[in-house]
Amino acid sequence: MKKVDLKKILAAFGVVAFLSVLWIGCPGSDLTQGDAAEKTYVAPGKYDEFYLFTSGGFSGQVGVYGIPSGRHFKTISVFAQNPETGYGYSEETKGMLETSFGFVPWDDAHHPKLSQTDGIPDGRWLFINGNNTPRIARLDLKTFETAEIIEIPNAGGNHASPFLTENTEYVVASTRFSLPIPQKDVAISTYKENFKGSISFVKVDPESGEMNIAFQILVPGFDYDLAHAGKGPSHGWAFFTCYNTEQANTMLEVNASQKDKDLIAAVNWKMAEKYIAEGKGKAMEANYYHNVYDESEQTAKSKKLNSVKVLDPKDCPGLIYYIPTPKSPHGVDVDPSGEYIVAGGKLAAVIPVHSFSKMIKAIDSKNFDGDAAGIPILKYDAVLAGEVQNAGLGPLHTEFDGEGYAYTSAFVSSEIVKWKIGTWEVVDRIPTYYSIGHLNIPGGDSRKPWGKYVIALNKITKDRYLPTGPELTQSAQLFDISGEKMQLILDFPTVGEPHYAQSIPADILMKNSAKIYRLDDNKSPYATKSEKQARVERKGSEVHVYMTTIRTHFAPDNIEGVKVGDKVYFHVTNLEQDWDIPHGFAVKGLNSSELLIMPGQTKTVVWTPKFEGVFPFYCTDFCSALHQEMQGYIRVSAANSSTPISYNIQK
């Protein structure tokens, strides 16, 4: 036998060891344990345990996903036009995007919030804020459609929104970007003198869900960033983080990071209600729109409003206090008991946890440390319950599992840190890939979290998926938190930037989900409820086509007598009354999107023919075996022609 060369063996061993380290060191390869697939596998035809609603970020929409599978079910059109459904294109839905700036077909959607009863998500509505042109939308969770959008006047950057009180009495809004209130033409350098913030309380009707701005509070010109309302003992209060208490107006990355501590504004909204009842609210001129989708008439109704009630803290003692909080705080989260208020100081080394009961004592004993524009600042130590040490770099947001633990996202160190409420000790931590922003636990900001999972909503995707050029998908990650140690079990991509997300057990929503719109309830003035009523009418240079669809024909399907320059309204009613039989409609040269019409719905699109000729229209949503036969023609004659209106319907 040949003599064994020990050196060679060692070298080979070293190479193998090195390679295996490289191999194991590849992102993600060793991070999931053997049972991850089992935990996230939802067999074909089976349902997920939770619905997850993710903000669509700069897509302006809301994504609907299943947890634990991460499967994408629907994109709900909210603040942005959606050519897939015709939302914001059809005559019936354009009004949803009306604002005091005119038609604004886009926004930056950040924080989905499920309506609550007794501090527990009830599955009735989902609210979400539009950050850029300040708005709040309400989505109906029976239809999974946007039911209402209200514009927030006197605001810039509606970021701390639409966090809600424990019985959905109010959703809140505020100014991340302070501005002159009311607006005026001033030098930007006069920020400290002329700029103000506002905090809005938007009342939600307990039956219909309809919103109206109950009052706004004028506050010093800081950046109001995030919010949460109190619950249980702290019900009646709402908390807003403020950064840039330096009141810088340029190069904020340096100039707004000077102070050791910024602030949390604690607002006593029950007291605000009292002041409003006493008539302390001053009417201020403000232009804003309120758009409600009338489900019976199937049309958005836009109303222009011109006044809000404003409270000035100077006239309202006890309305608002500031809690010092290190440093440029971002998230502010209230634990399930309602006693602890957790702040995520982006630049802070610790997570400060404030105590609600200590706050009340400090207020009662006037334990103040100066004031900001007349608003008392409480002493840090008088309010503090404890600090979580070694909580990761750049802590942002905290959610709760209902078992006594809190989970904080740390952006800079890219991890989730689990800590114990009361002892403030960190008990577990796990990396996220990469740079987590918000995180969500089912019911994790409510009085009774369902726990089980935490979903990380990451800012950076990088090498997690097959590359798709410079622009990558957005990345969410699912962790099992049912054990002592968190376990990464799934990566799944999401649409737009998922800032925040909320989740709710599927059975709460499933049983209420609508299957069709009942034709009998369709009160649209443009509805055609039977093929016998289908018709074409000319009104001056407008032509109204009252059209029906059913598998597999349009009625009428041949139309003549339209002229170049006419405005042709196609009012299309889908006569189907069974689940999952939408029809689509498009005509050649449409300067708009298609219509996607659900069973029992009427939708309208405008077509302005530019040339003489004969133009086809057809069904765009594959509906049945004879879908390809579902077509028709519209003849366009010269502007001065005398071709009469005619159309056919099978006798």
């Binding site: 039977s530 016998k532 598998r551 009625a555 189907e576 009354q577 069974d578």
Partner: protein
């Protein structure tokens, strides 16, 4: 050999447990009764006792027919579905009501309706019709059954 016994026994057990090759004849839940074969599967589960035609009900039925049925069914010609002028000469009144109320199951299980699907290639859907309205439609079709088509 002992080892083969060890191998075969669990195999047999597995077959028994999964029901493969079981000899017991299972009851076919999809087997239709004679009534269902003649009258369809749906809310009408016993023979109807029809009264003389009521013209007023038939007129109400015509309106419902126009809204719920007319886009797919004409009286005298094939469209999405078969012509219905003399449907009561081909089908029992019970069958007609069950077809209106329960088309999904009729398409899945009834041999006559399966044949119709193969012919028309469109699945009839439930059009959100109340049972009392289905009887009104039936009344309308009874009138049609006795009225010759005029062209």
């Amino acid at each position: 050999m002992k080892t083969t016994t060890f191998l075969i026994l669990p195999l047999l057990l597995a077959i028994l447990l999964t029901g493969c090759g079981g000899k017991k004849k299972p009851v076919d839940p999809d087997k239709l009764t004679d009534f269902q074969l003649a009258n369809g599967i749906g809310p009408v589960m016993k023979p109807l006792e029809l009264k003389p035609i009521d013209k007023k009900t038939a007129a109400e039925g015509e309106k419902i027919f126009e809204q719920k049925c007319f886009s797919c069914h004409r009286l005298d010609q094939k469209l999405v579905g078969p012509p219905l002028h003399e449907v009561l000469k081909r089908r029992s009144p019970e069958f007609v009501v069950n077809m209106i109320m329960n088309p999904d199951i009729m398409i899945q299980k009834h041999p006559e309706v399966k044949k119709l699907l193969a012919q028309y290639l469109q699945k009839m859907t439930y059009q959100d019709v109340k049972l009392e309205d289905a009887f009104k439609i039936l009344e309308y079709l009874r009138v049609q059954n006795e009225t010759p088509i005029t062209k």
